[in-house]
Amino acid sequence: MKQLRYGLLFLSSLMIAPIASAPLDDLNALQQHFFTQFPTLSRQDFANGVYALDSDAKQSWLAIEQFPPYEIAIDLGKQLFTHPFSNGLHYGDCFPDYQQGISQHYPYWDLKTQTVITLSQAINRCRQQNQAPPLPPTSRALINLTAYLTFLSRDKPIAITVPPEPGARAAYQHGKKYYHQRRGQLNFSCASCHVQNAGKRLRTETLSPLLGQTSNWPTYRLKWGRVGTLHQRFIGCHQQIKAQAAAPQSEIFRNLEYYMSYISNGLPVNGPSIRK
């Protein structure tokens, strides 16, 4: 009986182990998985998403990149960023290192508020500190501001940290669980398509690997005809598997972004970009 109980304990610990493993182990395991699955791709290539796998699509993407439609968003973002608040201060006062590029460090775990802070939220926090009302998560102004800041971070390696703090670990695990949990009428998890079946075809589309899914946001999607956010893309994913989606900048989406960005650590930021 005792032996059986130990056996069960051992089995259950085996089942829990992959869920609660340390973030760095997840990162190494997943990156190694994709590097062995796509041996011809370099670490940098993964930041290009599906275009790293599909040479025809890459050609048309590069053609658009010669005169990219997101340039308008970057220009408008720069204009907003350099425009002073009513108290005379600038966004630059909240983000002193913005010219060196800061977006590769977002999202991060904020010790004070015990929550994951995304770049959009950091911009809104800066506005609140300067007596300006926060911008809605999918507003043009906020997207343009993030587009400008992301542009300044181009080619900087993504550097997300998950501190050993229990709250940060919990947020990471929350995001990870969400990515790997099945949901919706079609009963898919994010990982069903983007880990187990990455690189394969789903109807006419190639499935992008998890590695590099966050590097290019905000992105100009041809489907949207404008620059949009990662959280808007999450909602699109949910619709495709007929699942209920959370709101942009909700806790679960921020945690999900935290997990996904952490796994892409070391890949270059290449946003804003263009995706189909």
């Binding site: 005169f67 220009d75 005809g225």
Partner: protein
Amino acid sequence: MSSIKIRTKRQADSTQIRTLIAHPMETGLNTDSKTKKTIAAHFIQQLTVRHNDIIIVTTDLASGISRNPYFSFEMKGGEPGDKITIQWTDNQGNSDSQDTLIQ
């Protein structure tokens, strides 16, 4: 900030002129999702391209063109330093113009 971005590229015996214009290009058939009111038609009607102040392209556009449209033209000849002017007029009477020199 001008609404027109222009890029030129010299090729063997021609010049490629590309332009990206920031414009809403509203058809007049869309409704605002919040106010439920129809958004007034607002689109570029005429676009002209000039090479050293001589019109080389005139286009009549309608509401079927996408938001922030992109156009590309091939021009025979073209020397470095030549002036390219692109100008648009929309149905609400607004207009904008931008010059660039061929590199």
